[in-house]
């Protein structure tokens, strides 16, 4: 029963965060918009990973493997950007 409560709370927070993303999009923050949106999205992803995907209760090794692809995503983006940013 306690399990379900946690899930419901997490789900509710996800809904709230989604609402927040929508709300913030109406404010004019310039670059800030993207930063806030990405921050909220990361928080949501973290919630899903930690609770729905049970990473919270996994060993450090499993968590490392779950995080590694994010690093690789960052790598691709960084490598590709280093090319486009300096192109003449």
């Amino acid at each position: 029963m306690k399990e379900y409560r946690t899930y419901l709370i997490v789900w509710a927070s996800l809904v709230v965060l989604t609402g927040l993303t929508m709300g913030v999009s109406y404010l004019r923050l310039g670059v800030g918009n993207a930063i806030v949106a990405l921050a909220i999205a990361s928080a949501k992803a973290a919630l899903v990973g930690l609770y729905f995907m049970h990473l919270r209760r996994e060993s450090a090794l499993v968590r490392a493997f779950a995080l590694a692809p994010l690093l690789f995503l960052a790598l691709i983006i960084f490598g590709t950007l280093s090319d486009t940013l300096f192109r003449k």
Binding site: L75, I76, G79, S82, D83, F86, K88
Partner: protein
């Protein structure tokens, strides 16, 4: 090295006892699945080789030869794509890895036997789709560069889907191996007592799991571009054709380590056994596998120096590229240090292992020419590149694979190979290989571009030499295949441990029983303690 091992000798049929198609197709035994992968990949090695011979035949003459230029494009695409995706990537991991990882860690099977079988069937499904896509034969080269691949009349979308499936099988295999190595090791087998083949396969699996999704995604983007005209890569729609190359090589460079790391693992097993010496620098070899795997993710840009990449990025990628040489050098020096003052015996597995070292050094030392910005401009897309990658992929990986096949043949089949035939094949392969591919270094240096169907007449002599070399090479391969086939039926019965090796797979019968070990062994030592009293007496 281990207690609780049954006195092993080769009389029974072991895991091969059951016969019939169903006993193979639905088997959950990692050994049978490994053997099925072995036959499948070996088949595509031979088909790919056939295309290579056709290519070489066509290049004997500078003008239009016996096939049209269009057909020539199809030849080199099929040669490259089959060799890479259906042979060399799965060859060692899926076939030999499946067979030997569980045995070498002292387990009954991989962690997920059903997933393993599913992986094989997904692989086969992928192959069927790939073959179906050949109704309109591929002419894009195995790299599928946009914008051409987005527009080519060939069945690129279908082929992408086929390779997507092949990639999925690769991911599942890698995943299964990582978990097997983590959870199925026999009691007493600590990380520092693991055979080096296992270390190599562990690093390989990590790359498979992390890099393969990128190529899958790239294929999806390419398909979306072709089917729905989404502008990921089309500049007219705001896309960037170089983005494709970034994605493609973010997978395809690390994947050259999926090809080479398992082969290096095999070499690290064979060298100490046939030198009767403990391996030199065990930890350095083990960790360098991981270092190569990680560094391999940072250097993909060296394939795009002249594609119009920014010079800042090019300098960064060039610098990083040289960093991979360090852990690779560590391995080579350690093998040579192991050989030093060993009591070396030159049986066929060792011959192929030494050929690996010799050819791979040539391949490796020609890498810096391509990794340096200045020389890269001269050598890019010439035969120098073709020579370089054949020395590393064929001289390296294929020789490692052959070394492994000769080394483990007795274990897999319960029969010994004919040493005489194996030696003859090795000599033919060594000569043929160098005549074929060393010539290509010279051709490339003189400016012969790759993928040209017709060429200026001044290059013809060299092309003829290379083609004749490819016949010698083919003769060697034929002798070898004959040796395998003949020995499978008529080779003498193999003892459990013909080479006197200390790793666990040798401490059971040949061929192994279905369960690998009657009693799971307890490991008390690392597997390279040759010279200790009583160790390794066959």
């Amino acid at each position: 090295m281990a207690d609780g091992i049954s006195g092993a000798s080769g009389t029974g049929r072991g895991y091969l006892a059951e016969t019939g198609l169903r006993s193979w197709a639905f088997s959950l035994d990692h050994k049978r699945i490994g053997v099925m992968y072995l036959y499948t990949t070996m088949f595509f090695f031979l088909v790919g080789g056939l295309f290579a011979e056709l290519l070489r035949l066509k290049l004997m003459t500078p003008g239009p030869g016996f096939v049209s230029d269009k057909t020539y494009n199809v030849f080199f695409t099929l040669h490259g794509a089959l060799m890479i995706f259906l042979f060399i990537i799965p060859a060692i991991p899926s076939a030999l890895g499946n067979f030997f990882i569980p045995m070498m860690v002292g387990a009954h099977d991989v962690a997920f036997p059903r997933l393993n079988l599913a992986g094989y069937w997904i692989f086969l499904a992928g192959i069927v789709v790939v073959i179906a896509s050949l109704v309109r034969p591929m002419d894009t080269g195995w790299t599928f560069y946009t914008p051409y691949s987005a527009k080519s009349g060939a069945a690129v979308t279908l082929l992408s889907f086929g390779l997507f499936l092949v990639g999925m099988s690769s991911i599942l295999t890698g995943l299964n191996f990582i978990i097997t190595i983590h959870t199925q090791r026999a009691p007493g087998m600590t990380w520092s007592r693991m055979p080096l083949f296992i270390w190599g396969m562990y690093a390989t699996s990590v790359i498979q799991v992390l890099a393969t999704p990128v190529i899958g995604m790239t294929f999806i983007l390419l398909a979306a571009e072709r089917l729905f005209g989404v502008g990921f890569f089309d500049p007219a729609k705001g896309g960037d054709p170089l983005l494709f190359q970034h994605f493609f090589w973010f997978y395809s460079h690390p994947v050259v380590y999926v090809m080479i790391l398992p082969a290096m693992g095999i070499i690290s097993e064979i060298i100490p056994v046939f030198s009767r010496k403990p391996i030199f620098g065990y930890k350095a070899i083990a960790y360098s596998s991981m270092a190569i795997a990680l560094a391999g993710f940072l250097v993909w840009g060296h394939h795009m120096f002249v594609s119009g990449m920014s010079s800042v990025a090019a300098v960064i990628f060039s610098l990083l590229t040289f960093s991979v040489a360090v852990p690779t050098g560590v391995k080579v020096f350690n093998w040579i240090a192991t050989l030093y003052r060993g009591s070396i015996s030159f049986e066929s597995p060792m011959l192929y292992a030494l050929m690996f070292i010799f050819l791979f050094i040539i391949g490796g030392l020609t890498g810096p020419f391509l990794g340096s910005l200045g020389t890269n401009v001269q050598l890019h897309d010439t035969y120098f590149v073709v020579a370089h990658f054949h020395y590393t992929m064929m001289g390296g990986t294929v020789m490692g694979w052959l070394a492994g096949l000769h080394y483990w043949f007795p274990k897999m089949t319960g029969r010994m190979l004919s040493e005489k035939l194996a030696r003859r094949a090795a000599v033919l392969i060594l000569i043929g290989f160098n005549v074929t591919f060393f010539t290509m270094f010279i051709l490339g240096y003189k400016g012969m571009p790759r993928r040209w169907a017709e060429y200026p007449v001044q290059y013809q002599t060299m092309h003829i030499i290379a083609t004749v070399g490819s016949w010698v090479l083919a003769a060697g391969i034929i002798v070898m295949v004959w040796n395998f086939t003949r020995s499978l039926y008529r080779g003498e019965a193999a003892p459990g441990n013909p080479w006197g090796a200390l790793t666990l797979e040798w401490q059971t019968a040949s061929p192994p029983p279905v369960e690998n070990f009657e009693v799971i062994p307890t490991v008390t030592e690392w597997p390279y303690s040759f010279g200790r009293k009583g160790a390794g007496d066959a």
